[in-house]
Symmetry: C2
Subunit: 413 residues, 2 copies
């Protein structure tokens, strides 16, 4: 018997029929003797309906009241799922964030979990109950309802799994696992049986469609085994776990990640003095624009060239800010390009395997793709290329690293 | 400056436009310097939508989960109204039943309030906040969400007013007050400026359309001045208060109440022994059928005739039960009639004014109406008559007691 936390998102509980299917699945786990805590999101569409009501009142409503409003969505689902379980003869009790109690800070609409009281859940689990918990929400020290922000239900599930020391946290979604790359781009993309937390984080550009990065970080920090599974298809999914848990030889590369939503800004001829990077990126950060890749070239003539990427949506605003900075700093020129994309090769194996970078650059050169920027981390190498070459680059790399039918894959799993 | 509790029902907060109107009204009270606690129901239709979802899962869902589900309806309204107030520059905070904390017993779907913690509300009121509270709900000692049953929001408002020792509890509704009788039956029906709790209870057949009887009882018990007002029309409404608060001469009669939803059952020739009333009415009560008027005639030949009325819906079931009882008791005959109605003359003044009964009977005799049953209480005389005479009876009595243009009315107000 193991203790499992299962999380079902909005689409998986989108109507009563689907809630009944989820109840069937949960009931089977109970019948197999497992203790189960289920975390649910609001029925799909419900959160947007509530936000639309609020926006009829005001464009930017008071965050405290926004949390009171939208937190009802998950509460409705918990009650309906508990009813569906009870109908099947499965003991079940619903809990909202305040009832659990999931204590958060008071940052309404984007609160962070501080502590979880597991007493009520433990008592119910010991009593043979399935515990159904509203995702995405908590309560601050003064008893105000808080929410964790969009996708926060994944975080709730991982946090509960950590608090209960669950054997596994299962995230049910509309894909059957994490792939070596996007199957829409590469026919031969394969589902991974296992991936490390670090790789999952670096695969963010694809991973974020599967589960919230914040939940992966949380799971890694508390060493909660995470499994991504399809809500309505049977299958083992992908297990996200620590490297150390596997004693098998790890292949070099886990997958190829990519992101189209990139635009690059270059400021040239900046006086190369200490603090110049802060002078350039400080105003961008203050405008709440997230910067992704940052590259500073070696200086010449005591000036430096500085390039960074932002989301395409943010480009016009970022460019305005950068032009002001350029004037202030006496820089030579500002230029921008939004027809770019980022492609990354990800794998913990590259820590111990030399030559991954050169293999990557070679594969791209072989198909005539020019590299605009390069940035590396311990387990990822990313290049910025022209957007029109994106699919070609992903397919070449997927093939070059033998991800279609990697003979090492069996060892990996 | 006074402290006012205001309650707005589902129709009054049925959409965002109406919530904005309610916010305007509340904001005016704040601007006039009053402290305001607002109790709201779910937006009209919302509770039924939630119940329909539950019934898709199961016909009789677990009561605990039902409460978790439907209590979200009021919570949504509290957030939207708080937002609308904040938009107007009025400080406001929403509370659900658990946050207040409104402690109830654990009788899910029909819980009764045990205690109210006024600390959070007091702090906010002292801070210049409008406190917006979800009606209809509370929390039991173990933190489970409970609901007070349909119409429970009136009870919440009165209970909060009692706990806060509010100067007035205002129930906003779709009528502009309590009338001497139903204006649809008598053109000259007048809105009462004042009515006592006892009269209001006795006017139940009309009063129940205006506010929940349970709330009136609660208000009477804790001596909370209750005012019934129209949500969207200005006007003083009707104040429901204790007799003692008025030092003015009270007129004899407050109004004429009536009820069409009556059916009568008669059991004749019952052996007149102690406990016979219980033997007849016990089985009826056990079947959850409410009995209204009960009349037992003087016995003759050691047998009694026993007549009582029930709701028309309950007549077939009640008659079945009564026939079985009649067989068991060896009674002579059971008969029934569902073409009857009840008309009542209500007024605390009849305590000290003789002759009200004879004036009532005379008025009915003058228009040729035969009285089938009579029952009296300290402040009410009710007669059962044939249904076809109902309107005629009400108009005759309204006129006979001078309710259209009672010269004493000015003194009463």
């Amino acid at each position: 018997m193991s203790l499992i936390v299962q999380k079902f998102g909005g689409t998986s509980v989108g109507d009563i029929e689907r809630i009944e299917q989820v109840a069937d699945k949960v009931a089977r786990f109970r019948a197999d003797g497992h203790q189960v805590v289920v975390v649910v999101s609001a029925m799909s569409g419900e959160t947007n309906r509530l936000i639309a009501l609020a926006n009829e009142v005001q464009e930017r409503p008071e965050p405290r009241e926004m949390d009171v409003l939208v937190s009802t969505g998950e509460q409705v689902t918990t009650a309906l799922l508990a009813m569906a379980l009870i109908k099947r003869g499965v003991k079940a009790r619903s809990y909202n964030g305040s009832q659990v109690r999931i204590l958060t800070d008071d940052a309404h609409t984007k609160a962070r979990i501080r502590d979880i009281d597991d007493a009520n859940m433990r008592r119910d689990l010991d009593d043979g109950c399935v515990v159904v918990v509203a995702g995405f929400q908590g309560v601050d020290e003064r008893g105000n309802i808080t929410t964790l922000g969009r996708g926060g239900s994944d975080t709730t599930a991982v946090a509960l799994a950590a608090a209960l020391k669950a054997d596994e946290c299962q995230i049910y979604t509309d894909v059957d696992g994490v792939y070596t790359t996007d199957p829409r781009v590469v026919d031969g993309a394969r589902r991974l049986e296992k991936i490390t937390f670090e790789e999952m984080l670096e695969m963010a550009s694809m991973g974020s469609k599967v589960l919230q990065i914040r939940a992966v970080e949380f799971a890694g920090k508390y060493n909660v085994p995470l499994r991504v599974l399809h809500s309505f298809q049977d299958g083992p999914g992908t297990l996200i776990t620590t490297e150390e848990e596997s004693d098998m030889e790890t292949p070099t590369i886990a997958g190829i990640a990519f992101n189209r939503d990139e635009a690059k800004l270059t400021i040239q001829g900046v006086p190369d003095t200490p603090g110049v990077a802060y002078k350039i990126l400080g105003p961008i950060g203050e405008a709440n624009i997230e910067v992704d890749v940052i590259v500073q070239n070696v200086s010449h003539d005591n000036t430096a060239d500085f390039t960074f990427t932002v989301s395409r949506n943010d480009l016009p605003q970022a460019e305005d800010i950068l032009r002001k900075t350029a004037t202030a700093l006496g820089a030579r020129e500002v230029s921008s390009d939004n027809k770019i994309a980022k492609v990354s090769v990800v794998g913990v194996g590259m820590r111990s395997h030399a030559g991954v970078a050169s293999q990557m650059f070679e594969a791209l050169a072989d198909v005539g793709i020019n590299i605009l920027m390069i940035t590396t981390s311990e387990i990822k190498i990313s290049v910025i290329i022209e957007e029109k070459f994106l699919e070609l680059a992903v397919r070449s790399l997927h093939s070059s690293f033998g991800l279609e039918n990697d003979p090492e894959e069996l060892a990996r799993n």
